[in-house]
Amino acid sequence: MNFLKSSVGRKVLMAITGQLMVLFVVVHLLGNSTIFIGLINSYAEHLHSLGPFVWVFRLALLAMVLTHAYYGIQVTLENRAATPQKYAVNRQLKVSLAGSSMIWTGLTLACFIIYHLCHFTARLTSDVAGFAGQVPGDVYRMLVTSFSHGLTVFVYVAAMAALCLHLFHGIQSFFQTMGWNSECSLPLFSKLGKAVAVIVLLGYGSIPVAILAGILS
């Protein structure tokens, strides 16, 4: 059977694309954090000075998101079909909320990515309409304007909570799927994954919350 049809082959593809996206998320967070030292505008200008590489990077990310989502949905549908009848009583000893909600946190993130691109990249929403067409423009001012609305902050923090939950299961899962786990390393990778997930939530969440609270203005 073809690698792309096999159970483990598809899992490996999802693990690799997922882990590359985690690396992107961490680098993106480091970049965003420059807002706290007042360097976000120069960071944004540096990024955009890379020219065609920006588009190479964007297309690579798009390919990763699509691959990860395509196989995630396909495998979930197969798994549902494999369990046609549920137990009347089902006491799970090990399955976590994070693990069993992967498809839902994943779909939430897909919706968020579309919104986020329309919001800060294409600047199509009304709150950032004044910044449309400026590349990259005054990113700092754009963020402050946008995150002064409580609802926008809520949407961003909620999406990061979904990401945190997704990574709670996803990061440790990567190591198991790649076959790099032993009896000793599994609990370590599990803790590492949870720690990264919480850092991502706190890191990304702190920016809109700091703006809403008036710490950044």
Binding site: N79, A82, Y87, L93, S100, G179, S182
Partner: protein, 255 residues
Amino acid sequence: MSSHNEHKSMTLTLIVWRQKNATAQGKFDTYTAKGITEHHSFLEMLDVVNEDLIKGGKEPIMFDHDCREGICGMCSQVVNGVPHGGQERTTVCQLHMRKFKDGDTIYIEPWRARAFPIVRDLIVDRTALDTIIQAGGFTSCHTGGIPDGNAILISKPDADYAMDAAECIGCGACAAACPNSAAMLFTSAKVAQLAALPQGKPEASVRVKKMLDAHKECGFGNCSNHYECQAACPKGINVKFIAKLNREYLKAQFA
């Protein structure tokens, strides 16, 4: 007094899945188990209930069992939502009624997975597990004279690792517990056992591919690393063997 206490009898309410055959509509029926002592095993408790049913001219509750010593892998019941009842490293035949209290209500269901069609009541058809083994869970070797002792050297850690994997009794609790109905712990135990030994290495890459193909064709789901299987496994087979299977599969891509 103390001897009376030891044989204190319990009365339990059982809610049991009854189904005539693979195609019939099943349903839960309620039974009262009387005169159960703490020394009865779970299956002996069902024997007591069945005797009453037979005396009353009713169909007994059908369930799989064989050795009743926790080594054959035949017994297969989901008790209160956990395959084998949730006592660590225990088959349901070795689960004793001292783990229950007088007046308890107990749900008893068969393994539920598309790959395990119900034969009758609590009995499911586990041919799918045999199909996976037949696809590659063996070593091909020349028969003939008896090989010399110690002709093939195997280190103690390798032998221990293979033996830990070989502990699998093939009951199917891993697939029954898995939210995706994947029998990956079962498949990985055999792949890992044979891949760790010199006799199994020559066919390792063919084996892992064929066994995974058979796993999929039998209608099992995909492993998504919940590790519910290890928690339910009566032999405590470790999910490190699934990591080993993944590794063997990746290695097989380059073989």
